[in-house]
Each structure stands twice: as structure tokens, then as C-alpha cells.
């Protein structure tokens, strides 16, 4: 029997301090609890207790690019960031388009044991957008794939997307679309707007995202399917989602921390640390992402954690790979952009970081209420603390954070996965 006692936590940052006793992975008691012998005690000191975070969108780079991230290092980053479940995208080498690869990733996650690693299956073979991958086999494999995506590529063929959505309904799984009409983004490098025009970047128009989201909402309604939209970045996409949800389309959407904070103002340096897909957009888009996340038109935050090697970032813009680290900075960015300005309270944070993503992916033991009898997937947050981001100090193999040197609010004090402490005071385990 393992026991952990969280002394003096404030559930969802509300009400009086309470003690939370965790026994064998389950919340056993909430109230005034005395520490029994052999109980590991975490002094919470009035800090905020939330359900462990769930990230629908990470790139853990294993197999294939272990020089940039592994399931081990990515899991450590996740645990330190307050996550108890992460979804690992399928664009590995080999691609996770079959049961062998997804089971491998799932097993590696179990071996590491710091966070539940759920492999995302590819929608199409080799992410090529030509024919469906064996979604059923992957769903029924040991990995139990719930989420399918060609992320990094858009399933742009409307007929293939229709088939994927239809097919998914029999499996009870979700297709997550990387919304980017490829004909509108040939050679695209940055958000198409005033800044890119001046700086000479080939434009990535918002319409390339909006058009696919509109199309796919229509297709999902026709197919009676669930649809999830990855990394929403454009104002017009929010309008489309609002319209589709109003019609009763079963669509959900995520936004990344960087699209809540950063803008294309960063293009001026030509430093590809700021290169990401979809691109950083204008101030009005950032403002809209925040409001849509607060109102629920955008369902959740997902990091799109994308580690890259130094040589793939320390080069000219066009040659650089898109993507940025996110797992260890996500909470702080959410606090900075949503909590501090008063757009969300801590219950709201629990909703967008844990409950909604768990619901979207159908994880029964994540994003659960803080109540007796519930699984102890928990994160303890110090809302008053601040820290300075240093890429080299992050747990990822890579260091490509766009927040280098920034002072950010809120620190993860402890993360518990099924009652076991996976991170504490910035250290693993």
C-alpha cells in the first residue's frame, strides 16, 4: 500500500486549505488528515490542486529522431509540466501508421512510467494522404489508439477525409485534422499579412486553415462523425467553429500556448526559433484565441510540443523546421495569457488543460473531479512563484523554446500519476 498526503492544498484554487490522502492511486480522503506512518507527505502550503493535465498534441520523436527527443525525455518534460497523459503524434520514422509502431510507442511509455503516453495513429499510410491506414487494427491493438491524425500534413483530399470520418464512427475514435489547404500554402513561411509582406516572407494565409475547417465541419456533419481540429490559429477559424457548433456538428478544437501569446511581430529577427506551423499570427488573432478559449468555442490547450535539433533551427528561415517546445511552459503561458488577465479561473484551467482534452480523447481515468474515489492523477501548482525559462535546463533533448529568458508565472510543484509522484519541485520522481 502506497500513501501520499498532500497537506493544505486548495482544490481548484478555491475555498479553505484541505488535506488530500491518496492511497493506491486513488483519492481516499479529503479533509483534515493526519499523516500515518510510511506516508509520503507533500506540504502544499495553500497551493492550487488540479486534475493532471492532458496534452492531445506532442511530438516525442521516437522512433526516428532520438537525437531531438525520446519517450523518456519527453515524458520527463511532461511530468515536470504537470501532465499525466500525452498524445504522441504519428509523424515518426517509421510513421505510426500500423499496430507495430503504435504498440512500440505505447510500450515505451509504459516502461518510462512518468506519464501515460498514447500514440496517435496516422489517418493515411505514410502520412501521404493517399489511402487509409489500418485504423481499426491500431484501435484494437494493445495501444488502444483513440486519436488519429496526419498532423504535419493535412488530409486535404476531401473524399479521403470523408472516408476517414465515416470509418472512424464504427471505431468510436476521433480524427484530428491539421487544417492547411496545401494548394494555398505552397512555399509558405509566415503569416500572410503586413509583417510578412514587408519582410519578404512567402505568406501562409489564414484562409488556408479556415477553408479546411469549414469543409471538414461540413463533412463531419454529413458523416455523423466526431472531428477534432489541431492548433487553431486564425480568427476566421473561430468564426467557423462557432457556426459549426451552433449547427450541432460534433467538433472540438485545440489552441497552442504559443498562439495564445506570440505574434508575427517576432518575424523581424528572421530567427527560426519562431518558425512554427501554423505560423504565429497577428495581435487580433491572439486576442481572439484567448476569448474563444475562455468562452469554450476552443475546447482546450494542446502544446504541439515539437523538439528540433540545433542545426535545424540555427540556419536561414526557409531551411529551418517548424515547431517549438511546449510541455514545460504550457501552464505558465496559460496563467500569463488567461488567468492573470481574468479570462479564466483555476476551474477553467482544469477544464481546458485536463477535463476537456480527456473527454475529447475518451480517457476514462484522466480529467476526473477532485473527489474521493477518483483516480489520483493530480498536479499541484504554485500560482505565486515565477521562473525564468532556460532552454538548456528543460528536460527535453532539444532546447528550441521561443520563451528563452522570459520570466513567467506559476510553477508545477508536484505531479502525481495514479498516486505516484512523477515530478516534485522541478525534479523527476
Amino acid at each position: 500500500m502506497t500513501q501520499v498526503l498532500l497537506k493544505g492544498a486548495r482544490l481548484y484554487g478555491e475555498g479553505e486549505k484541505v488535506d488530500v490522502l491518496v492511497v493506491d492511486g486513488t483519492i481516499a480522503e479529503i479533509g483534515a488528515v493526519a499523516a500515518a506512518e510510511g506516508t509520503e507527505v507533500v506540504e502544499a502550503g495553500g497551493q492550487v490542486l488540479l486534475p493532471g493535465f492532458v496534452d492531445l498534441h506532442t511530438h516525442l520523436r521516437e522512433p526516428g529522431r532520438e537525437d531531438t527527443e525520446t519517450v523518456d525525455s519527453g515524458s520527463a518534460a511532461a511530468a515536470l509540466g504537470g501532465y499525466t497523459a500525452v498524445f504522441a503524434m504519428a509523424n515518426t520514422d517509421p510513421v505510426a501508421d500500423n499496430a507495430v509502431v503504435v504498440e512500440h510507442v505505447w510500450r515505451r511509455g509504459r516502461e518510462t512510467g512518468l506519464v501515460d503516453v498514447h500514440p496517435v495513429g496516422a489517418v493515411t499510410v505514410g502520412l501521404k494522404g493517399e489511402r487509409l491506414a489500418e485504423m481499426g487494427t491500431m484501435a484494437k491493438s494493445a495501444a488502444g489508439v483513440r486519436l488519429f491524425s496526419d498532423d504535419g500534413h493535412c488530409v486535404s483530399d476531401p473524399l479521403l477525409m470523408r472516408r476517414a470520418l465515416e470509418y472512424s464512427t464504427a471505431l468510436g475514435v476521433v480524427v484530428a485534422q491539421h487544417a492547411e489547404e496545401p494548394r494555398l500554402t505552397v512555399g509558405a513561411q509566415a503569416h500572410e499579412g503586413e509583417r510578412a509582406a514587408r519582410l519578404g516572407y512567402a505568406g501562409w494565409p489564414s484562409s488556408a486553415e479556415e477553408a479546411i475547417v469549414a469543409r471538414d465541419c461540413v463533412l463531419a456533419r454529413h458523416a455523423g462523425a466526431r472531428l477534432h481540429i489541431c492548433h487553431v490559429s486564425a480568427t476566421g477559424t473561430v468564426d467557423v467553429l462557432d457556426w459549426a457548433k451552433g449547427l450541432g456538428v460534433d467538433v472540438s478544437a485545440e489552441v497552442t500556448p504559443h498562439h495564445l501569446l506570440l505574434t508575427d511581430e517576432r518575424l523581424a529577427t528572421y530567427d527560426p526559433i519562431n518558425k512554427v506551423n501554423p505560423p504565429l499570427r497577428a495581435e487580433a488573432d491572439v486576442e481572439r484565441m484567448r476569448r474563444a478559449l475562455a468562452s469554450g468555442v476552443l475546447d482546450c490547450v494542446a502544446t504541439d510540443h515539437a523538439p528540433h535539433a540545433v542545426q535545424d533551427k540555427d540556419c536561414e528561415w526557409d531551411a529551418a523546421r517548424p515547431g517549438m517546445l511546449g510541455l514545460q511552459t504550457a501552464l505558465s503561458i496559460v496563467v500569463e495569457t488567461m488567468v492573470r488577465p481574468g479570462l479564466l479561473d483555476w476551474r477553467g484551467v482544469a477544464r481546458i488543460m485536463s477535463e476537456r482534452p480527456a473527454e475529447i480523447a475518451g480517457l476514462p481515468d484522466q480529467g476526473r473531479p477532485l473527489a474521493v474515489g477518483e483516480p489520483a492523477n493530480l498536479v499541484l501548482v504554485d500560482p505565486e512563484a515565477e521562473w525564468t525559462v532556460r532552454g538548456a535546463e528543460l528536460a527535453s533533448v532539444s532546447a528550441n523554446t521561443p520563451y528563452e529568458g522570459m520570466r513567467l508565472p506559476a510553477v508545477v510543484s508536484a505531479t502525481l500519476l495514479r498516486g505516484r509522484i512523477t515530478s516534485r519541485e522541478g525534479k523527476i520522481g
Binding site: R198, A202, G203, Y270, D314, C315, W317, A319
Partner: protein
């Protein structure tokens, strides 16, 4: 000046200083049999061209040589670049080999900025000789030098820039510099060849060349690259030429003393009529001649200017 990367934000007095130096160099060398000044003796200038270019590379090379600098030409095909070496490593190698100045042309916008960043510690100057669809500052300076020669001061002068603004680094550099020098710029192009966001530029925009020509002091024709013609930016070369080409008939719409510029290479019969290119209004060969003097002036201000910035 430490680097010349862009004309965006280049101060009026700095730009004017380069132009004045160019004028002076031109006067000094006029009629001389030996066109060589000792100013940059012992300094090493490396041109690093990742795109094909004859006129710009040759112009920089001659400029360096007339200033007595040692000029080394590196082209992407004939160096370790072909072996996959990164831009950063190539730049650091050239700096370590003793370059005082690196002149770079690269297909990626911002490549010259990146280079300047990597070379901060070596003290090497960087000149942007064209980066992607961003800027080509020495072209804008030589255009301004040519216009000043023909028109005098540019304040209040009206200049039309015609053609593929979207993909043109020449247009971007000219828009900033001409605005700084007080000229009014009108961009004339089909909507497909104008960037989204052009509204924020210090220009007016028009789609009617004929309506603009009678009121301009100069017209700058931009090259239409072959790949644009097949990229669906306009229906056909014929239709483009009819709407936006500076043909012989249109020359008559221009005021008599207006100046015609083209950065080259020209597509005669497409964006510019053959007789127009050779007409008295055309300053196209003067542009090339002034290019050498302007680049000499740029090298002078970067490498010989004492106590500046």
C-alpha cells in the same frame, strides 16, 4: 554603418551620404585611364552568391577592385555549400579566413540578417545583395543615384514601380528608400502580384498603368520571372504585356523628361518594349554604371568610414 541589410529604417542622412560619396567617386574616376583608388588596399571582400547573378556579382567585384580591395568570389555550386554545409558554417569559415566584408545573395528572405547575427563577434560586415523576396538595398541606392542624376532632389517626385511587387526585393528596397528621400511612390500591378498588407506601405496602389503615367517623374519596370507566368498570377504573358508592359505607345503618355528604369535582366517585348529600353528616357545602362559607384561607396562607408556608428 556596420552592415547594409535593408533600406527599411536606413536614415536619410546615411542614405544621402552613400549617394554623395557615389557621386564623388564617379566624378573622380571620370575620364581616368586607371580607374583604381587605394582606399581599401589590404581589405578582403568576399562575394557569396547562392543564386545565379551576373550583373550584381560583377558590379560588386568591380567596385571592390576599383577600391583596391582583394575580392574573392564564392558561388554555391563551386564550394562546400554543394556538399551540404550550413550557411552559418560557411559564413564563419569565410570570416575566419579573413573576410572584412561578406556580400551575400541568397534565396531565403532574411539570410543576410542571419549572417550578420552569426558574424557579430568576428566584426565582419555584411552586405545584402538580395535575399529572397525581401530586399536588395544596393539596387535601390543605385536607382536613387540614377534618379538624382536625371531629376535632381527626389523630394516630391512621383515614381511608379510597375509589375511583380509581390516577389520583388527591388520593389521593397525602393519603396523604403524613396519614401525616406521624400518621393511619392505608386505601385502599379495586378492584385495577384501585390502582397497582402501592402496597405501599410508608404505608397499608393493602382491597377491602371495608363492612368498613372502622365503624372510620374519616373517609372521603374520590374522583371516578370518566367515561373510567375506559369504560376497563374495572370492569365497570359500577352494579357500582362497589354495591361502592364511599357510599350512604345505608352512612352508617349510619359512627360517628356520622365525617366525609365529597369533593374535587369529585361524581357524585351514583355514588360518593356525594345525601343523603350533604348529610348532617350531610358536610364538603364546608367543604372548599371552607377551601380559600380554606389557599391564602391557602400564598401567605403562600411570598411573605411572611421568613427561611424
Amino acid at each position: 554603418m556596420k552592415h547594409l541589410l535593408t533600406t527599411d529604417g536606413l536614415a536619410e542622412d546615411a542614405a544621402t551620404a552613400v549617394l554623395d560619396t557615389a557621386d564623388e567617386l564617379k566624378r573622380t574616376l571620370l575620364g581616368r585611364e586607371v580607374r583604381k583608388l587605394p582606399t581599401l588596399r589590404g581589405r578582403t571582400v568576399i562575394t557569396m552568391f547562392y543564386e545565379n547573378s551576373t550583373r550584381t556579382r560583377v558590379s560588386f567585384e568591380i567596385a571592390g577592385k576599383w577600391m583596391s580591395a582583394d575580392v574573392v568570389n564564392v558561388s554555391a555550386g563551386g564550394s562546400s555549400v554543394g556538399k551540404g554545409e550550413s550557411l552559418r558554417d560557411t559564413a564563419l569559415t569565410l570570416a575566419a579566413a579573413g573576410a572584412d566584408c561578406v556580400i551575400v545573395r541568397h534565396p531565403a528572405s532574411g539570410a543576410a540578417h542571419r549572417l550578420a547575427g552569426w558574424l557579430t563577434e568576428t566584426g565582419t560586415s555584411v552586405v545584402n545583395a538580395g535575399d529572397g523576396t525581401h530586399e536588395h538595398p544596393t539596387q535601390a541606392l543605385l536607382d536613387a543615384a540614377t534618379l538624382r542624376e536625371r531629376l535632381g532632389a527626389l523630394k516630391g517626385r512621383r515614381i511608379a514601380i510597375v509589375g511583380d511587387v509581390l516577389h520583388s526585393r527591388v520593389a521593397r528596397s525602393n519603396v523604403h528608400l524613396l519614401a525616406t528621400l521624400g518621393a511619392d511612390v505608386v505601385l502599379v500591378a495586378p492584385p495577384t502580384l501585390l502582397p497582402k498588407g501592402v496597405e501599410s506601405w508608404p505608397v499608393t496602389v493602382s491597377h491602371e498603368l495608363d492612368a498613372e503615367l502622365p503624372a510620374v517623374d519616373a517609372v521603374m519596370m520590374l522583371r516578370v520571372q518566367a515561373e510567375r507566368m506559369h504560376g497563374g498570377f495572370f492569365p497570359s504573358a500577352r494579357e500582362y504585356s497589354i495591361a502592364y508592359g511599357l510599350n512604345e505607345a505608352r512612352l508617349g503618355l510619359l512627360p517628356e523628361d520622365a525617366v525609365v528604369l529597369h533593374p535587369g535582366p529585361m524581357l524585351r517585348g514583355m514588360e518593356i518594349g525594345s525601343a523603350v529600353a533604348d529610348a532617350p528616357q531610358s536610364a538603364i545602362t546608367e543604372q548599371v554604371r552607377n551601380g559600380v559607384h554606389v557599391r564602391m561607396a557602400v564598401l567605403y562607408h562600411l570598411l573605411a568610414g572611421e568613427g561611424e556608428e
